[in-house]
């Protein structure tokens, strides 16, 4: 420790942006300097104010404030230390069958009448003993598919088992909402259950992407309105998947979400997985096209906020991570990834995956990313191989990036697009998407763009009440 304390500097990172140099420390505290700062830093020509700025960033240390190093160490350790496995989110696929066949179906669903794609009684029994040894406290179970409502009988049994082996529980049914039978409705009436569905845009977009039939698309909207009216807006949420059908017209998509009464939208690019690999091949490689769509959308969202609260899920997640220091549990966007630390996916055949995307990749036999199954439990060796790759803090392409402390790492996405995760990160879709978003956010900070900063503050507070907490930025 004494040697450590004699260090005068801690590592820092920088990036030129908006005619300034953005400097970040090991944990993501940041400040902004003139463009010649690095030259002057290394030639010992900093002004006193600049020295203090670097001291406040815990980049330069002096003998009087040794606590700054203790503080930095504490924060880095808190961010990166391994924590004991405590599963609180389980995604289940009771059936892979589905009555729709979406163009981008990332799980390559099974036809609705096929056999052998559902959980059996033996799966239920194994699931029970599996979660029993997880010693669950509060747990959220998300029913994915396939279309889970094809098997309400299984859903009911799984809910029963979960309630028996957890201190408290809540449930999400991810349904395409083509059908609401009395059996399904009986489930929906539960107070501890919410519905998540897919709405990609207008009827014609829905038909093109998902249903191949305007009648079914209309039925989905009718069912959506029915649920909304009967149970209120907290009962149901929706996600779009952005394909060629919407990428040039963000306004139409956003208008639909506003009209449906949403206060949030998660603009999600089509993944390079499942059916999408063939049907949306070009789009899922054009990151510039995505970034262009994304900025246009954010500008429109800024306008929507003039009259109501409305956030973009991913940007506000990133904003909260950078400025609110809110821990995020999003497994595709965190570092260390800590696969299977708090969440897991159990497939229709009992295989266990670290994320839904990992399941998708394995399903098309691209790679087997299962890290165990209900029968034999978790394969810790295989899991640790994945986890070793899921740390940007040690990754040679990430450690020099100014955004490293704010960013995550998504090796599953890398594998899906490039068949390996040791590709140069700067050339990946994930990295370019992330860099673009971070540049967008920090350019607003550097230029003190009040309109945007006010919006960021709203998203941090999750309310429209004005705030003058500008010290969060600079």
């Amino acid at each position: 420790m004494s040697d450590f304390l004699s260090n005068k500097y801690s590592p820092f990172r920088f990036r030129e942006l908006s005619n300034h140099i953005l400097v970040t420390n090991e944990i993501g505290d940041f400040d902004v300097f003139p463009t010649d700062i690095l030259e002057r830093f290394f030639n010992d020509q900093l002004t006193n104010d600049e020295v203090n700025q670097f001291k406040n960033l815990s980049i330069i240390f002096d003998n009087d404030s040794k606590w700054r190093l203790s503080s930095l160490l504490r924060r880095v350790r808190k961010e990166t230390e391994s924590t004991q496995r405590k599963i609180n989110y389980i995604m289940l696929i009771p059936t892979l069958r589905c009555d729709l066949s979406c163009s981008y179906c990332q799980v390559s669903r099974a036809p609705v009448n096929s056999k052998g794609f559902d959980w059996t009684d033996s799966h239920l029994a194994k699931f029970e003993s599996f979660i029993e040894q997880l010693e669950l406290d509060h747990v959220k179970i998300e029913f994915q598919g396939g279309e889970p409502t094809l098997r309400t009988d299984l859903l009911k049994k799984i809910i029963q088992i979960t309630e028996k082996h957890s201190t408290s529980s809540e449930f999400v049914v991810c349904s395409n909402l083509t059908t609401i039978t009395p059996e399904i409705e009986e489930l929906y009436e539960r107070d501890d259950l919410v519905i998540s569905t897919s709405i990609d845009g207008s009827i014609s977009t829905m038909t093109e992407n998902r249903t191949s039939s305007d009648d079914i698309s209309q039925q989905i909207f009718n069912n959506f309105q029915y649920i909304l009216k009967k149970y209120g807006p907290s009962k149901i949420s929706a996600l779009p998947t952005i394909t060629e059908a919407q990428i040039d017209n963000p306004k139409q998509l956003l208008d639909i979400y506003v009209d449906l009464g949403f206060q949030s939208i998660f603009l999600r690019p089509v993944n390079y997985m499942g059916f999408a690999r063939k049907q949306h091949r070009t789009l899922s490689q054009q990151v510039e096209r995505w970034n262009n769509f994304y900025t246009r959308s954010l500008d429109l969202i800024k306008d929507i906020n003039k009259t109501q609260y409305f956030d973009e899920f991913y940007t506000s997640l990133v904003i909260r991570k950078i400025f609110s220091k809110e821990p995020n549990g999003f497994v595709d966007f965190r570092s260390p990834s800590r696969f299977l630390n708090d969440t897991c996916v159990i497939d229709f055949d009992g295989e266990i995956y670290p994320s839904d995307e990992a399941r998708m990749l394995s399903r098309i036999r691209h790679i087997d990313l299962s890290v165990g199954n209900l029968e034999s439990g978790i394969n810790e060796d295989k899991l640790s191989v994945l986890n070793d790759g899921g740390i940007n803090q040690f990754h040679e392409d990430c450690i020099h990036c100014a955004y490293m402390p704010h960013c995550g790492i998504d090796i599953i996405d890398d594998i899906s697009r490039y068949k390996r995760f040791d590709v140069i990160k700067q050339e990946t879709w994930f990295c370019n998407k992330q860099l673009f978003l971070f540049d967008f956010i920090f350019s607003k900070v550097i230029t003190k763009d009040k309109e945007w900063l006010d919006l960021f503050l709203r998203w941090m507070k999750r309310s429209t009440t004005p705030s003058n907490a500008y010290d969060l930025f600079l």
């Binding site: 404030s65 040794k66 606590w67 203790s70 924060r75 609110s324 500008y470 969060l472």
Partner: protein, 370 residues
């Protein structure tokens, strides 16, 4: 204002002693023959005649004062008793020492170079007699100037009275790593909250306010030591003209570096002591310039810092932030002023310090009516 000291005449030896006052008109068989008690049966002409194992003594009281179950320290040669513990109050504080190594520019209780150590055994004796589950404040001066005696006292009392918890006000200058084990042991037995003042984010500013070079860096160093013992820490910031503008930065500093504190108390100044002498420097009207305070509260909300406002009358705080106001001013030194008449939030308001006057008046004071 409640008197914490009462005149008395003694028919006892000259040695100071500690008793619990007991109203014999309230029959309670268990306590009736407790040698710790001084019994009184009647009040005549504002004189309370007490019988104890130390002899008889008479306390001169004002009408309406209730001394039943109070613990008092009696000083026969001075002819006074100290109301060490008032059983009907939540604000019982031991003035452990009046010495201090800091000279805060707004200190409400300016330090004095008086040797108080001879009272320590009396404090210990008195603690053993207080009501069950009491919270005892320990203040000064700087109590940890006598760190060993302080911890000895708390530890000794904890063996017989683990139910008592403490709130210690300390400038956190005198801890060392070697204290960690001892504090851990004590805090396992007894609940202690450490009230520790931090006024700014730099040594330049903080040291200037507390009048001690090097205080800031030592304070932060020691907060890490204290936190490592699992201590409950209440960080306290008195809002003055010298640090008001800095408040949002302080909120950032706390959330970044010392998020392990249990609560951050932002406190309105007590207009007495050094504050009175330094009014020009320290007075700040947060009703005219509310931005720094509101911004700091917003940052706390966003960064998940548990924050509270002490000593701020509710009408001086923006409505959306009144949820942070605590009813904090001790019962023996708070008051309401004519402007409070008809205010609908008076019952939940901290009111004003007894020594508040026009000179310290905030512009925004007005009764809340809706």
């Amino acid at each position: 204002m409640i008197n914490l000291q009462l005149k008395a005449s003694f028919n006892t030896s000259n040695e100071p002693f500690v008793v619990r006052l007991f109203d014999n008109r309230r029959l309670n068989e268990q306590l009736e023959n407790d040698p710790s008690n001084a019994y009184f049966t009647s009040i005549k002409n504002d004189e309370l005649i007490c019988t104890s194992q130390f002899g008889k003594f008479t306390i001169y009281i004002n009408e309406g004062i209730n001394l039943h179950n109070d613990v008092v320290i009696c000083y026969p040669t001075k002819g006074i008793i100290d109301r060490f513990f008032r059983s009907d109050s939540r604000h019982n504080t031991i003035l452990f020492t009046e010495k201090c190594d800091e000279r805060c520019v707004m200190c409400s209780q300016p330090p004095k170079e008086i040797d108080n150590t001879w009272r320590f055994p009396l404090f210990e004796e008195a603690l053993l007699l207080v009501k069950e589950n009491s919270v005892i404040g320990i203040s000064g001066g700087e109590p940890t100037l006598y760190k060993k005696q302080l911890l000895d006292m708390i530890e000794a009392v904890s063996h017989k009275r683990p139910d008592i918890s403490y709130h210690i006000l300390s400038n956190c200058q005198h801890l060392v790593k070697e204290d960690i084990q001892r504090l851990e042991t004590i805090q396992k037995k007894t609940t202690i909250t450490w009230g520790i003042p931090l006024y700014a984010t730099s040594s330049e500013q903080h040291d200037l306010i507390v009048g001690k070079p090097g205080a800031f860096n030592r304070l932060i160093d020691n907060l890490f030591i204290l936190a490592s013992t699992g201590a409950t820490i209440e960080l306290r910031t008195v809002l003055t003209g010298l640090n008001a503008v800095e408040l949002p930065k302080l909120a950032m500093f706390i959330s970044n570096h010392i998020p392990f504190i249990s609560i951050w108390a932002i406190m309105a100044m007590e207009p007495i002591g050094f504050a009175k002498a330094n009014r020009e420097k320290v007075f700040f009207d947060h009703t005219i310039f509310p931005h720094p305070l509101n911004s700091a509260l917003d940052i706390c909300e966003i960064r998940n810092v548990n924050v509270t406002l002490y000593n701020f009358p509710r009408c001086t705080i923006a409505e959306k932030n009144r949820k942070y106001c605590a009813q904090s001013i001790s019962d023996w030194k708070n008051k309401f002023i004519p402007e409070c008449n008809g205010c609908i939030e008076k019952n939940s308001c901290s009111g004003f310090f007894e020594w508040y006057n026009k000179k310290w008046s905030w512009e925004g004071i007005q009764k809340i009516t809706n």
